[in-house]
Symmetry: C2
Subunit: 153 residues, 2 copies
């Protein structure tokens, strides 16, 4: 038996996308992506003290639970591709562990509510963690495999 | 009660750092960081099919469990800083949810073993997910708050 780990939501996403079907996945193949999609990360009062100093960062990693994902798959055809890909080579929600990762831009903060842009999550998505995006997270000389032909640099 | 989520390890980290004390945290304030630290991500056989197409990517997000972290805190003084910071403004392991995130460079692959560099995890760390790093994860015009004075650009 592999070890397992339990995590509790520390907050919730407020998004204009109300259902999985609302998310325009075709935006993944544009340079804009979801940059103009605004919403909020509302942190639970019990964890609000952990937000100290966060205002200084322009970008944040948001780790979340894909709580409305369909069953996990190891191979899947991405919606904007024509071939089946390994799930670890995609950002699909249908993963062995339904963990999501989105980098948002921090537009402002009112107490325990972070106003952000770059949202691709559904409204009500449980937030598991928030981390600062640092200079060392900006990687150079990328190769992006099957995605390269869909990405506009 | 906030919703909670259970995740199982899909693999394990093989690292030169055998204990938490082995990790040279002062490297976080250098431009090299952990770039020259090599190791492996060994994916469990049950999930190996999910690695299809991963070879095309130069960089990968590795999501993992900080399984040997001390108790969680909301405020902590980073080891190379002189002030207490909010935990969501740090990458400390002592988080409400002990979830870690490291971006590694994929140096090669032998079956279900990924040879990587850029490791800052401890040997035996349970891997929860692997995701491709894409062009859109490379953010511009960063502000990095309290970390800025420690980062060498």
């Amino acid at each position: 038996m592999p070890p397992s780990f339990r995590f509790e939501a520390v907050g919730v996403v407020r998004s204009p996308f109300k259902t999985p079907e609302d998310v325009p996945v075709e935006r993944n193949s544009t340079s804009l992506g979801f940059d103009d999609v605004r919403g909020e990360i509302e942190v639970d009062p019990a964890f609000a003290d952990g937000l100290k100093d966060i205002d200084g960062f322009s970008h944040l990693f948001v780790l979340f639970a894909f709580d409305r994902a369909a069953e996990a798959k190891l191979l899947e055809k991405p919606p904007f591709d024509d071939q089946v890909r390994g799930i670890f080579a995609t950002r699909s929600p249908r993963r062995p562990n339904a963990l999501g990762l989105t980098i948002v831009k921090l537009e402002g903060r009112e107490g325990r509510v972070l106003r952000v842009s770059g949202l691709d999550m559904i409204d009500g998505t449980p937030v598991l963690d928030i981390k600062p995006y640092t200079d060392r997270d900006r990687k150079d000389a990328l190769r992006t495999g099957w995605l390269a032909k869909y990405e506009r640099r």
